[in-house]
Symmetry: C2
Subunit: 302 residues, 2 copies
Amino acid sequence: MTREAVVGIDVGGTRIKTALVSPDGAVLAEAVHLTPPAVGDRLGAVAAEAVDRLVRQAGDPVELLAVGLVVPGLVDDEKGIGVWSANLGWTDLDLHGSVAASVDVPVAVGHDVRAGLLAEHRLGAAREADNVLFVPLGTGLASAMLSRGRLVTGSQWTGEIGHVVVVPDGPPCGCGERGCLEAVASAGAIGRRWSAATGLTGDAEEVARRTEAGEPEACRVWQEAVDALAAVVAPVVAATGTELVLVGGGLARAGDTLFEPLRAALRARLGRRAEVAVEAAALGDRAGCLGAATIALDLVGR
Amino acid sequence: MTREAVVGIDVGGTRIKTALVSPDGAVLAEAVHLTPPAVGDRLGAVAAEAVDRLVRQAGDPVELLAVGLVVPGLVDDEKGIGVWSANLGWTDLDLHGSVAASVDVPVAVGHDVRAGLLAEHRLGAAREADNVLFVPLGTGLASAMLSRGRLVTGSQWTGEIGHVVVVPDGPPCGCGERGCLEAVASAGAIGRRWSAATGLTGDAEEVARRTEAGEPEACRVWQEAVDALAAVVAPVVAATGTELVLVGGGLARAGDTLFEPLRAALRARLGRRAEVAVEAAALGDRAGCLGAATIALDLVGR
C-alpha cells in the first residue's frame, strides 16, 4: 500500500534532523546526522539525500507530497529566504530555490522555532491553547508566538528575544553586546557561567542537579537565569495576553527545578491578575523537524 | 442631503468623549462631558443622549448606522462585556445590552486603547504600519498591538502592561502592588514622584519642562520612567516583531523630550539589530472616541 507523506528537515548549527511524516502526524522514519561545513551551499543535496534515505527506511512505498525546510536565525518565511544566520554563516540565501531545484515536489520554508511551535500546537503540548509563547532554551534562545492560533510575525527580527539586554553591562554575548537574555538564561550560558564561577566543568544539566542539591553557586546562576527569563517573558505575556508559556529545548528537561521558580518569578512580575500557565514542550528536539513537516503539510493543504 | 454616520462613545474615568463620524472618517460633530457617578448603571441613557445631541449638532439630516462604545479596564470585545474596571467601578457589566436597549441601531463594544489603535491605523499615525505597539501614557498605562494589521487579543488581560512589575519593591501602585510600570512611567506617576521628591506641586508637563531645563530631580524621575518603559517595550518588540511604537496620551505632548531618550533606551536594549520607530500618536485624546466610531463602522461593513 502506498502511503502519502512529507519530509521535514531541520538544519541546525550542529545537527540536521529529518523525518518522514504522514498527513495524520505519524512519523514513518527519522534520521539525524551532523551538519556538514558550508551547508548553505549544499542544501539541495542535503534535501535530496534526506528524501531518499527516509523513503528507503520507511519500507512501504511512499508518495512524497512536499518537503519542508526550517532553519534558525532570521528567516523570511514567505519568500523562502535565509536572511541571516550566525551559526550557519549565511546571508540572504535562497533556501526555497536551493531545495526546489533538487526535489520535484512543492517546498515550504520556515523558521525552526516558529515551525516548532506549529508542531507543538498540532501534535504536542499546545494543542489546547491558542495564545502561546514558545521559548526553547538550548544553546541559543529565541521565541515564537501564537495569537488566536495564528503565528505572530512582524519584522524579520520577530522572536529574537535572546538578544534583549536584561543585565546592563552583564556577561558578554556571542552577538557582541553584553547582558543579553541568551548570555544569562540559555542552556549554554548557564553551564558557562557556573563553570566560570566555580572553576569546575559542567553543563546546564549539571547545574540543575546541583541546584536541586542546594549548592549556592549553582542556585545563584540558576536563579539569575530564571529572573532574566521572567523579565523578558512577563511584558510579552501582558502585552499580548499569552495564556501558555511553553518551554522547550534542553533546559526544559530540568522540569520543576526550572518551572517552579519560573512560575514564581512570573507571578511576582504579573501579580495574581495575569494567570499564565508554564509547561514543558512535548516534542523536545524533534519540534523543528516535525514543524518542517507541518509547514510542508500545510503547503499542500493536508 | 442625508448623510450616513456612526456615533463613537469613549467612557473614561473622568470624561465621556463622543463623536459623530461619517464612513469616510469625517467628524461631523463632537462633544465632551464629565462622567456621571455610577455611569455603569446609565450607559443606555448616556448613549441615547449622545446620539440626540450629536445629530442635532450636525445640522444636516443624518442616517445613523451604528453606535460604538469603548471603555477602559478588562473588556471582552466579542461578548460586549465590561469584565472589570477599577476607575468605573464595574464587574461583568453587559455593555452591549445596556446600550442596545436604548438605541435602535447595531452596537459595537470595545476596549478604549485597542479601538484607539484601530483609529490610529485607519486615520492617524499608524496608517503606513502593520506591526504596531500602541502605548498611551496618561493617568494610567495600557497597550494595544497590531500584528499584520490585525489586533492581537489573547486573554482578558491583554494589554495590561501597566501592571508589569519593573522595579521590585518600587513605588506603590494603585493596584496594590509595588513597582508596576504604571507607578513609574504613567503621566500621573511622573508628576507624583517628582512632587514627592521635591516637595513642589506639578504634573508631568511641568516635569518635562524642568527636564528640558536640566533640573536634576526632574531628569532623574523622567529617565527612570523612560528606562522602565524601555524595559517593558523592548521584550515585546523583540518577541512580536513590532516596527512602530506609537506613544499616545498626555505624555506624548512632551515630544522629543520623551522620544529621544526612549529611542536611545530601546537601542540600548535591542541593539542595532532590531530597528524600531518611536513616534507620537496623531489623534491625541480623541483616539478612543474615533476608535469607537471605527469599530461601529466595521460592524456595519463601512
